[in-house]
Amino acid sequence: MSPLVALQSVDVEWARVAALQLLGLGLAGGVAATVLAVLYRRTTARAVPAGVAPFIGFATVGCWLLGDALIRGSLVGATGLTDEATATYVLAAAAVGAVAGTGGGRLGDRVAADVYGIDRIVATGVHADRLRDARLVVAVDLPGTVEQADGYGPVSPAVERSLTDATFRVPSSLSGDALAARLEERISADYDVDHVQVILDESDGVDAIAVGRNRRGLGLEIPPEKVAIAVRSDSAAEASTGDPVALWSDGAEGPVLVARGRLHSCSSDVATVVVPKEALEDVSPRERYRLVTPADVPTDRGRMLALVRSAPETTVALEITSGGPLVGEFAGWLPGIVLAVRRGDSVLAYPADNVTLEPGDVAFCLGHPDEFAAHDGVRDVDAPADLDRTDDAEVDDATVPVEATD
């Protein structure tokens, strides 16, 4: 028998009861969906996902029907549960529940957004989701001390002050590595630091942060006894950093050699060159110089420095002081490779083993820290030893005697 035929066979009374019950079920489904929508907005600041509201309406109705069926054994009147009329009723109830759920969900969502002051974002997609993430944030406190990162110079006192005990707000959905990455991104983007590392504890609080800044300044690239100056010049188009250059000016009687040095950098009409300190007296900003680049033999100094710094071996500079343990000793006695001995203005490269060390010499040795630690002469020498030093002299704010008063 088709449902339609079945319906015709029941009486009007049955239909009336059924209709009333459907109304009640619909209401129940709608209310359940409304409540859920409100609670969801309250907790997550978001709308319930699509399809949930009708499902809740449907489920509420279904549970009610199930309860009814278990208690009474029938749903409308005395009609059996496996009767077609009942089946039609159940289907209708499910549909009513779903529709009421949809409506109730929407109502609840709008009411809640209004009450809780949430601006609804209707758009879908990854970007819209990111905007929604901003609704729930947690405050992350930075620790009371900010460490200096290994291998980097210090950051400015103002930055350190600002980071100490600062509070950052981040989306609550971030945790663990993602949270650390976000904090690091924020510190390196908003502050003048070149390196930052954030370490979190198990409950996603900040355990420690370390920041650092690269050493800056031209002085770090200039060999001793030399200076870097900028002069007006025609740049040799092919010249590049490190090329030897000779500065020639146009004198009254022809070109005059003013100074020799190495090119640091050049732009269209200004060249920065590294020349001996004495050349400072011979160079004038009013003159224009021609740069002549003689032939040169390359050297892999940069690569060598990189290698030495990355290896456990280290270089030390030993100042031979009169009365010290190294005076009168042979260069061959020094540990490691004796690269050079600077004596006054001259340099003895790879000195022979029988070269005697004199007061005022500076000996440069390349070797393993253990060798140096074990060698009596080196261990006792009161040198500006770089055995463990990784820092250069820091200039920045620290050397300016007057404290910045922020």
Partner: protein, 424 residues
């Protein structure tokens, strides 16, 4: 005879009745699974639901496992299965937005509005521009025009998943850091337009000037790479004076992109041909930082202006001259740098090569010839320093040191012979 149609309808209805409970259960299971950060295959949820429903149906007498009831059974199971699966995925989705960590106090934030979505790029960052006039702050001096223009040109790239308050805080932080402002207030509207009011730096240069020194702005060619705080020698009118650079010319100057980008602005100050240098400490309204162009970034750098602190007694020398030469001294005390630059003074070089028999021969044979400072065999990752010449073998990488000319002949000859890729 009951029609198939009727049986199916009854089956669906029974499915709804007995399937609701398992479906609700599936929702809860889904939510629990998501909150516990694990995952369960949907089959593992659907199958038990079907089993429970079947058992319930049979026990309740609604379904009998007979052939006649097969359509009813199938329809019911289909409904149960589908609603369990759907319920499970809804449960997962519901729970995915719920804050997990209740120990952390969650605050409400107000995000950017939908209208700002166009400004959000693929990596989830939004670009914010100042709009309207850059205002002054009550009680503070007004902004100099150049600073006002710089602020108006700024743009900020920030994550889009931050509330407006926090975005404002970050913008304020960046502006303070970049321009050294005494105070700044940023107000962001939900569309992503920032209204900025700021106060210029307090005392600019003057607080960085040491006791007994005065700041003088001089005109000179600026060595590229010069940084704030570096000690320099200033040569003017045949006198050399020691000073400290005050105005920052280095990587945090105007034209580095990291903190605050300038939108399409031209770089350096134009080269002007005349004008005496400004003396003494600049007025509080004139921040020192924008005085000096950074010619390392600029192709057309001409004469620039550098503000240096010099002993007050010597300041008049600089005031009296039109232009000066600024010389940066060495301040790298690292022993390895000193060592290798000293070797270069003595006309020595180091080269990275791959050893061949000729090279090994020349290293072994003469004690005053090239020497090997470090060597690495093909199998090794580590370099061995100060190797014994007897241990060297062709094919190994080595750092060869010696007189420039000799090294050049030896190395280039060997390089020409064996084109190898050299890797540190």
């Amino acid at each position: 005879m009951v029609s198939l149609h009727a049986e199916v309808v009854v089956g669906i209805s029974l499915g709804i009745l007995i399937g609701v409970a398992p479906a609700v259960g599936a929702v809860l299971v889904g939510a629990a699974v998501e909150l516990l950060d694990s995952s369960v295959s949907r089959v593992a949820v659907v199958v038990p639901a079907l089993a429970i429903a079947t058992a319930a149906g049979v026990a309740g007498g609604l379904v009998r496992l007979t052939v006649a009831h097969v359509p009813r059974l199938l329809a019911a199971l289909a409904v149960v299965g589908l609603s369990a699966a759907y319920g499970y995925s809804r449960g997962v989705e519901l729970a995915s937005s719920v804050p997990r960590d209740w120990s952390r106090e969650v605050e409400r934030g107000r995000p950017l509005s939908e209208a700002s979505l166009e400004a959000v790029d693929a990596s989830g960052q939004v670009t914010i521009h100042p709009s309207g006039e850059i205002g002054n702050l009550d009680g503070y001096p007004s902004l100099p025009e150049s600073l006002r223009a710089d602020l108006a040109d700024a743009e900020f790239r920030l994550p889009a998943d931050l509330p407006l308050d926090e975005l404002e805080t970050r913008i304020e932080r960046r502006l303070t850091e970049r321009f050294d402002l005494a105070a700044v207030a940023v107000s962001l509207d939900p569309r992503g337009r920032a209204t900025i009011a700021a106060a210029p730096p307090i005392s600019g240069i003057a607080r960085h000037v040491p006791d007994g020194y005065s700041a003088v702005t001089i005109r000179s060619f600026v060595p590229s790479g010069l940084a704030r705080g570096e000690p320099v020698l200033v040569r003017a009118d045949s006198r050399t004076i020691e000073g400290i650079v005050l105005a920052d010319v280095g990587p945090t100057s105007l034209h580095d992109g990291s903190l605050v980008r300038a939108r399409g602005r031209e770089a350096a100050d134009p080269d002007d041909a005349d004008g005496a240098p400004t003396g003494a400490a600049p007025s509080p309204n004139e921040p020192g930082a924008d005085v000096v162009p950074s010619n390392q970034h600029v192709a057309n750098a001409g004469l620039g202006r550098v503000t240096v602190a010099v002993p007050t007694g010597s300041a008049d020398v600089l005031l009296g001259s039109n232009v000066a030469t600024v010389a940066v001294q060495s301040r790298n005390p690292r022993a390895d740098f000193r060592a290798f630059t000293a070797l270069e003074e003595a006309n020595q070089a180091v080269r990275f090569v791959v050893l061949d028999d000729d090279l090994v021969e020349s290293v072994r044979s003469t004690s005053s010839g090239p020497r090997v400072l470090a060597v690495r065999s093909e199998a090794d990752d580590e370099w061995q320093f100060d190797p014994d010449p007897a241990d060297l073998a062709a094919g190994w990488e080595a750092v060869v040191a010696g007189d420039r000319g000799t090294l050049d002949e030896l190395v280039d000859a060997s390089v020409a012979a064996t084109p190898a890729v050299i890797e540190a």
